[in-house]
Amino acid sequence: MRVGVEVGGTFTDLVAVDGDEVRIAKVPSVPARPDEGAFAAIEAAGLSPGRIDDLVHGSTVSTNAILERKGARIAFLVTQGFRDILLLQRQSRTSIYDLAYAKARPVVARRDSFEIEERIAADGQVIVALDTAATAAQIEASLGAGDYQAVAICLLNGYANPAHEEALAGLIHERFPDLPVTCSSDVTREFREYERASTTTLSAYVQPVLDAYLTRIERQLEAQQFRGHFSVMQSNGGRLPPEGMRRNPISSLFSGPAAGVIGAVKCAARSGHGDLISIDMGGTSTDVCLVENGTPGMSTETEIGGLPVRAPVLDIATVGAGGGSIVWVDDGGMLRVGPPSAGADPGPACYGRGGADPTITDGHIIRGTIQPESFLGGEMALDPAAARAAFEPLAARFGMSLEEIADSAIRIASSNIVRAIQLISTERGRDPRDYVLVPFGGAGPLHAAQVADELGIDTILVPPNAGVISAYGLLAADYVHHASETRRLTVDDAAADVVRRVFGAIKAREAEGLADLGLSGKLVYAYMLGVRYVGQAYEVPVSFSEDEIGKLTAEAMMERFAAGHRQVFNFGDTGEARAEVVNFRLSISAPLGALPRFTEIGDLAVDSRDATIMDAGEARSYRLMARTGLSAGDAIAGPALIEETTSTILVPDGWRAETDAHDNLVIGRDERKGRPS
């Protein structure tokens, strides 16, 4: 049996797959002790750990440790003269008219930052050698005096030559063998010292917290006779055994959104779709991701709480439009949705926990797209009167009915999602019409048709049990490891051979580490070069398969780069302008053999009937039914509202939904109605 357990802010979700049998569970999270929520979910699903062969876990432990500043006390070692790089940051402000501007607080105190006499040049040459004896004494004094739980090292140009970082790590290890040390060259081999130092310190900061958390789970599993494989989700969409995660804790950030994307990818793959845009609508926000040929876009530039992170993550755009997002009017009279959110507590007004602000979930209740009696399979009571009361002032202000104002708010939420999708599609030179929309999360499938209309998308695929896709993504994920290296290389006739050589070296080095983790057998490699025109500072990613790398030529590199540059920036040529490779990234994955099945669970009873729903400014009668009422091959024409235990799907007029042979609900334009203009 394979089991995925995903700890979210409000709920902990579980999906278990055993042959043809699928079980799901949703229990309240325990924010202070997320592992309790995880074991509660296992119990709620009626599982005993002894029966589980493969357990995959995703949690927000690292993310929360950073956001709440509850990580380890760490020391930071840096090149002489640069102790303050974490405080100076990039000197700029993210809000230009804010007079009381405050920078994001680093996770290391200034007094815990120590300068080391050494200097390496951009090409890796040693300018000032490390004085081992003096440095050893300095380390003994500085680290011995503090009560440190971890050390982060980031030396200037350490990405080009990690020798000094490694030497320092060695000196620390000799004197303080139990102190975990994180070198910047092990976290990210890319230039820009502030961003690399930030990533390194964040990694060191969460490492002891994550280690303790994983150890707690491992002990608990052992006590409960678990004998299967245990692995943990990463931000890059792959999983790793706990030991791999302990080595690279920064990759544990943002694992929840990544799991959702993988779940969507795996479900859509069964129906033969590889070019997707996923929409994961949660309580406080919505995450969207663009997937090409089954591979989600990657980014190495992200941030957490204002602190930069340079580690490969799925290229996910987030917008503050979730079920709990508050609907409000600004002082210029514009109707707005989010980013403020009622969160899990008090939650939307209809939760009846004291929330008074109108939210998107309340809006859905008012316009009829959430039917209170079947919310979360009817297990959670909702208060429609509270939802209506919350929207009253807005309705009065705009001179609209409650249904109209709720519908307006929902359209604005959808358009906020559209903006996020444009960020990862049109702004990256991709046309959203070439992709299938895959909505999930509780309310994602309610907004999907509206979003598809805005973007001109023709096909929507709703995976089974759409409210727990992230947990499914965990157990369906491959093992993935990324490695990168910065090295400048002019694209000339000799370049292709150098590229092959560099990748060969990275491969040899990484294979060893993977073997340690027990990952061997059939590995799949994906190659990516970061290329730019000479003189530029930001690279365009250019991908190659194993086969293409073997046959690579300078012309092929140049052509593919120029095309990529044009696609994003509207200019780029292969003529006079010279190009250079700046970094090399290798993605190594160990794919699962067979994809675990996923079928809609059938315990929701909905009486088929008609209900009045206001959608896109129009009130009309919708057919209400349970998703399980549509067997493979069955179709229903909109307008219809299809309920499942964990989610609700809106099929407006002009659309037609059909369950396909893989339990996905595929919604397309209803040809008999013609396409809207």
């Binding site: 003269g81 640069f82 303050d84 405080l87 100076l88 990039r90 000197q91 700029s92 402000r93 809000s95 230009i96 008219y97 804010d98 007079l99 009381a100 501007y101 405050a102 920078k103 105190a109 200034r110 007094r111 040049a121 951009a122 200037l156 140009n157 990405y159 230039f191 820009r192 010292e193 600004d330 002082d331 210029g332 009279g333 514009m334 109707l335 707005r336 202000r397 705009f398 001179g399 307006s408 359209r411 604005i412 358009s415 906020n416 559209v418 903006r419 444009q422 960020l423 049109t426 400048r488 025109y533 003189g535 530029q536 500072a537 930001y538 540059h565 994003v568 920036f569 509207n570 200019f571």
Partner: protein, 551 residues
């Protein structure tokens, strides 16, 4: 409140889309640029203009450049009418006396055509590393603007005929010292303009001209309405403030700037009568820069940061400054260091507003663009390094001033040391840190200044810089203490050479150039500072005497 004419959903959606398009233009300009001053420091701005040239949406990059997007545009459109534009045409202008800032900030406007007519403009400006003139990157000796670089008067050219290898591009290329970087940055500007155009056309296609144009007009009215509401909430009255530049770079006399702010109902008038006359060197501030400084100051004080800054937001303002004064100079005054005077116009206005709204203002910070240029002519041509340094922010009623941050009218990032190490072999940065002990004490303390040291690795390196607050300290508010003055010096063997705020000199191998920028002034009496805040500063070493003792 009356019901808006526009459907509230269309309006909200189109407004968001316009803002997003401008942000995308800005982000792509930075990411595809060639010179460190644009690609690392982000000294550039981007906006979408409506078909009449009003800024409707902007990428929030550099406050100073943004407020003059429209004036610079109008100077072009007056001479080369919009209805005579053809696809491929563009406007160009960097004339400080035609709406521009200083010469390096070149404004480019690309018309957007939809169904055969102009419906708007993609607009960008970027600080170009070198535009010729009397010295690489920065000529501190210039006594008129001709010596400061190439002037592009408000003009119209065409991409196909004049740029892309055409005569205009060739002319520009031949007159500048690092053409690959500069022309590369121009091309990044053109491409960003085009991206803005593409997004605008998408909106016109989807929603139709009428709805998009109504939304654009609505967005201007929206910003105006929010700005007026904020002004109306401020107490009516006439308020006076004053600030001064250390000196004019020739004598020791401070240059005094006086601001009179009149708040009446939902309008504000700012007048600079009493300000000193224009000067011989480059501190002169073109009137459009004066206006930009004042808009940014008052907007920051009065309104929430999320009011989109567009032409509508400027409607409640009237700004006047006597012709021939430092803040409204006559041609052909040199203007390169106009940021210095802009900041004192900002400061004088801030002090006037401190009377009206003591809780909403901040004390004087370093409030200076310390512009530093190192250049070297080697065998393979010129290498030019230019970087902008901020310092400490002034403290406010409820917060300490921000430490080591670019000053309020600008927003340049630093250039990563590792990028400098890759690109420049004639010097090396050996220290970059917060300047301990530089913050003005107070109930809330000012921010700390920045310290930066360079070791020179070749003979004959030219150093040029303009800065300020070397003798007149960043002022406190309400009985706080002033921030530390800035200082620049060169260590040459045993010798310490003090360098003025406005200076250029030749550096030799092994010279060490040390910059220290000013800290921010404090807010409220120092004896009211909470003990835990003081203990924290002590533990973190912010109160120390800095590295000087160890030197």
């Amino acid at each position: 409140m009356t019901k808006p004419v526009l459907d509230p959903v269309d309006y909200a959606v189109i407004s968001q889309a316009l803002g997003a398009a401008a942000r995308e233009m800005g982000a792509k300009l930075v990411r595809s640029a060639y010179s460190p001053i644009v690609r690392e420091a982000s000294d550039c701005s981007a906006a979408l203009l409506d078909r009449l040239g009003n800024v409707v949406a902007q990428a929030e990059l550099i406050p100073m450049q943004l407020a003059s997007m429209s004036e610079t545009f109008m100077a072009c459109a007056r001479r080369f009418p919009i209805d005579e534009l053809e696809p491929g045409d563009f406007y160009i202008n960097n004339d400080p006396f035609e709406g521009g800032q200083h010469l390096p900030d070149v404004f480019l406007y690309s018309p957007v055509f939809f169904e055969g007519r102009v419906v708007g403009f993609g607009a960008t400006t970027a600080h170009h590393l070198d535009l010729g003139g009397g010295a690489p990157g920065l000529n501190m000796e210039a006594t008129d603007y001709y010596q400061e670089g190439l002037l592009f008067p408000p003009s119209k050219y065409n991409m196909d005929h004049d740029w892309n290898g055409g005569p205009f591009e060739r002319l520009v290329r031949a007159n500048i010292r690092v053409p690959d970087q500069t022309i590369g940055d121009f091309n990044a500007q053109f491409a960003a303009n085009e991206i803005g155009g593409t997004r605008l056309i998408e909106l016109y296609r989807k929603y139709g001209a009428e709805t998009v144009e109504a939304s654009m007009a609505g967005l201007l009215d929206y910003s105006e309405r929010r700005m007026r509401a904020a002004i109306a909430a401020a107490p009516d009255g006439v308020y006076h403030g004053e600030d001064a530049i250390d000196d004019d770079g020739i004598t020791d006399e401070p240059l005094v700037i006086k601001s009179t702010v009149t708040i009446a109902g939902d309008s504000v008038t700012i007048d600079f009568t009493g300000t000193c006359d224009q000067v011989a060197l480059n501190l002169n501030c073109p009137f459009s820069s004066t206006c930009s400084a004042v808009f940014s100051c008052v907007k920051s004080i009065l309104s929430s940061p999320d009011i989109p800054f567009n032409e509508g937001a400027k409607r409640p303002f009237t700004v006047t400054a006597p012709l021939g004064s430092l803040l409204n100079p006559r041609r052909p005054a040199p203007v390169r260091a106009r940021m210095t005077s802009s900041y004192r116009a900002f400061g004088a206005t801030m002090r006037a507003m401190a009377e009206a709204m003591p809780e909403a203002v901040i004390a004087g910070g370093f409030d200076t663009t310390e512009s530093v240029c190192l250049s070297h002519l080697g065998r393979d041509g010129y290498r030019i390094y230019l970087e902008i340094f901020g310092g400490g922010y002034g403290a406010s009623a409820n917060a300490d001033g921000s430490d080591g941050v670019d000053s309020p009218l600008s927003n340049c990032s630093n250039i990563p040391i590792e990028a400098i190490d890759m690109d420049y072999g004639f010097f090396r940065v050996i220290d970059y840190s917060l300047r301990e002990g530089s913050a003005g004490d107070g109930r809330q303390r000012g921010g700390l200044g920045i310290r930066r040291a360079f070791r020179i690795l070749e003979d004959g390196v030219t150093f040029a810089s303009y800065s300020d607050r070397f003798t007149l300290a960043p002022w406190p508010l309400f009985d706080g203490e002033p921030g530390a003055c800035a200082r620049t010096r060169v260590l040459r063997g045993e010798e310490v050479i003090e360098v003025g705020a406005k200076a250029s000199m030749t550096l030799m191998t092994d010279d060490v150039l040390i910059l220290e920028t000013g800290g921010g002034g404090g807010y409220g009496p120092a004896n009211q500072r909470p003990a835990d805040a003081r203990a924290h500063d002590e533990a973190e070493g912010y109160l120390g005497s800095g590295r000087d003792a160890a030197e």
